[in-house]
């Protein structure tokens, strides 16, 4: 596995971990999208539906779900998760079974998922600064989307799938060997958590 001469191995220990992370994140994201979709349909049928996650004024998916930001494209955003996450799950499962996808395919996956990732954080920003409420399932989407994005990006850098300049890609690969990706993702999620705690404090649990 560590023999540098072996260029096309079955997924090694590290790769298995990576795709397992991707699989778990995509699965969580799919569950959250599914719940949000069901809620959106229920709210469409009856705007006064009491959703289980309306915990208090701060944690309220009803507030978020009825905002215009919740259906930017004219239908609930969660539908996009229902469409995209099964593809990620398929990629992760196939990769765990040893399939290596062509470079162009992975580049396309990276491009589309990066858009989704940006969209997830735009929604997070809107929820915090303009809607003024948080919804637990949306937060799960934010975090799990981050997990998928990080693992996908890591894989694509490790396999030089992104058509980056060779020197840049080599540097990034060194960063991966040092675990800097873990560090960045970890610090990022911790910063998010700290931000929510500082901004909402006791309102999160009261």
């Amino acid at each position: 596995m560590t023999d540098p001469a072996m260029s096309e191995p079955r997924p090694g220990h590290g790769e298995s971990w990576l795709f397992a992370t991707m699989l778990a994140s995509a699965f969580l994201s799919l569950i959250a999208s599914f719940v949000l979709s069901v809620d959106a349909v229920a709210l469409a049928a009856n705007p006064n539906t009491a959703l289980s996650c309306n915990i208090n004024a701060t944690i309220s998916c009803g507030t978020v779900a009825t905002s215009w930001q919740a259906s930017v494209f004219g239908f609930p955003n969660a539908f996009l998760g229902l469409i995209a996450e099964p593809v990620v799950i398929t990629i992760a499962v196939a990769s765990l079974a040893g399939v290596r996808f062509p470079r162009g395919f992975m580049l396309a996956a990276q491009t589309v998922y990066t858009l989704g990732f940006a969209f997830a954080y735009w929604l997070f920003y809107e929820a915090v600064f303009n809607i003024g409420a948080l919804c637990p399932w949306c937060l799960l989407v934010t975090v799990s989307t981050t997990g998928v994005f990080a693992s996908l990006t890591r894989h694509n850098i490790a396999h030089n799938n992104l058509h980056l300049p060779p020197r840049l890609n080599a540097r990034l690969q060194t960063g991966l060997r040092w675990g800097l990706d873990r560090l960045i993702v970890g610090l990022w999620l911790l910063a998010l958590a700290a931000f929510l705690v500082i901004r909402y404090g006791n309102a999160l649990i009261a």
Binding site: L18, A57, V64, I131, G132, R177, L183, A194, L204
Partner: protein, 264 residues
């Protein structure tokens, strides 16, 4: 954690001699060892940071815990407990001869017109010690802000100011109505509400806590209590507990009724 499969750079010498091959392997091992060391340190740094953040979060939440949402007893000193007294922001001398109750929702257009017509006169009467003004912020128009709960957020900010900076509460009330968003829009953001408050002279340390919605529960319970006490809409004005049925949108009618009550 994942061990990175080595990239297979194309520029590696393809037919190394045995000796240089051995040296190369040794160098590779040295690099691997160094990478592993760095990796371990990075992991350790992350773990330490994670623990620090979690401890900090726990302390922060414990430190900011206000306990149960506190009704504004602090701002209604001396007010006698009747009806919905718990859910009101009192302004002016508690022993003023006339008590005026105003039930309002910051999203309600007629409340804005009421404020424009009567706000200055009411403030004068408060300052003259003629009336004790009791403002009841309500939130039933939350349904008219696209889920953004503008009424609750504005009322929360209003209560926050009433508790922290009671002298400026009427100025803030006026500012909120002067900048009232249209019904059916998400309303002003918390940041915009904070900007209005700061323009009214309220300090940042007060406005920074708006997003925490510490009084949201207060507003919800107060709105319910107001409805339970027979209030049917906003604006509703009571003079000494009796509904004022005159014209709410001109200043003179309300002032006349208040003066009449003061002379009783």
């Amino acid at each position: 954690m994942p061990k990175q499969p080595k990239p297979s750079p194309d520029n590696q010498p393809s037919t190394p001699t045995t000796r240089s091959r051995r040296e190369e392997l040794a160098a590779q091992h040295a690099r691997d060892a160094r990478d592993r060391l760095i990796r371990r340190r990075v992991g350790l740094a992350l773990a330490v940071t994670a623990i620090a953040v979690l401890v900090f979060a726990g302390i922060w939440i414990a430190a900011t815990a206000p306990g149960r949402p506190a009704p504004t007893t602090a701002t209604t000193p001396g007010a006698t407990a009747t009806g919905t007294d718990t859910w009101t922001i009192g302004v002016g001398r508690p022993d003023a001869p006339v008590r005026v109750d105003v039930y309002q929702d910051f999203m309600c257009p007629y409340c804005a017109r009421f404020e424009r017509a009567n706000g200055p006169a009411l403030e004068e009467l408060v300052n003259a010690g003629t009336i004790r003004l009791e403002i009841h912020p309500m939130s039933f128009l939350d349904r008219a802000s696209q889920g953004a709960r503008y009424s609750t957020r504005a009322a929360n900010a209003f209560i926050t100011v009433a508790q922290a900076d009671p002298d400026r509460v009427l100025a803030f009330n006026k500012a909120l109505y002067d900048n009232q968003p249209a019904e059916g829009t998400p309303g002003l953001s918390d940041a915009q509400i904070a900007t209005l408050a700061q323009a009214a002279g309220i300090s940042r340390s007060v406005t920074d806590s708006f997003p925490q919605l510490r009084h949201a529960q207060w507003v919800t319970e107060g709105t319910q209590a107001d409805f339970d006490s027979g209030i049917q809409g906003t604006p509703t004005v009571l003079i000494d507990g009796k509904p004022f049925t005159g014209d709410l949108l001109t200043a003179s009618a309300l002032q006349a009724a208040i003066r009449a009550a003061a002379n009783d």
